[in-house]
Symmetry: C2
Subunit: 122 residues, 2 copies
DNA sequence: TAATATTTTAGGAATCAATCCTAAAAGGCG
DNA sequence: CGCCTTTTAGGATTGATTCCTAAAATATTA
């Protein structure tokens, strides 16, 4: 764990926000101005690969990173892109696993809404 | 509906494949060699906007387009990216709608697996 | 149907997230 | 401390997608 990797990791762990690489880069540079953008991307990739953090691909927007590594559904605001974690009810995907022969290796479930802040603003 | 838009639309409707913009561009150019890449992207965007086709954002890969416009889950091969449509069991997302106050505007559910072709190849 | 106004296209430049490259800097270790 | 390996900074590059502009197609009008 290098200093830069630790810093990136700490930023993700500090809050439940699901930040983009660019946001993490900005936050990290506030503390380590020499940090390179490529270093952020590479370390995020490594952390994801090790399963220490989660990666969330977003439609028409940069990916976001998640301190919660267990798979779970997300609630996404269609206006501002803000993401919240949801908990998966037990056995929800069971019908699929049954009909597909149990060979599901993973899932991704996003629910879209307009968050209260954006609804107020409209 | 211009000739180029009709061609793009026909290619998507012709088969259940979920093709990328680039694949559609290649197929279309076989019939209309002057067709520009930008025209494909713009018309795909328009068709999606009108709800005539669906768009499927893929992790770390170009988006794919879907002739089935009603929302439905997808089964995605993690190796080759091939996509199949699934049917959503009635009321599957009900628990979320209940706990979130029914204000869900859409969803996206992807199940990942390794398709038979890729499994054989391995 | 010819003239004019509007929309769409072709072609290529530009954008933007993300990856890759290379020499320099940091770490690890005996 | 010196040698070896790994990681970084910084910038170039890629790849999907969008944007720009003049020309072409289409629609509208008289």
């Amino acid at each position: 764990m290098t200093r830069q990797r630790q810093l990136i990791y700490d930023i993700i762990m500090a809050e439940p926000e699901h930040r983009t690489a660019e946001e993490i880069y900005d936050l990290a540079r506030a503390q380590m101005p020499s940090l390179a953008r490529g270093t952020v991307y590479r370390n995020l990739g490594l952390l994801v690969g090790e399963g220490q953090i989660g990666k969330l691909e977003m439609p028409d927007a940069p990916a976001r990173y998640d301190r919660e590594r267990r798979p779970h559904p997300h609630l996404v605001c269609q206006k501002c892109g803000k993401v919240e974690d949801l908990t998966m009810p037990d056995g929800l995907l069971r019908p699929f696993a049954l009909s597909l022969g149990e060979d599901i290796t993973g899932y991704e479930l996003k629910l879209y809404h307009i968050c209260p802040a954006c609804r107020k603003r409209a």
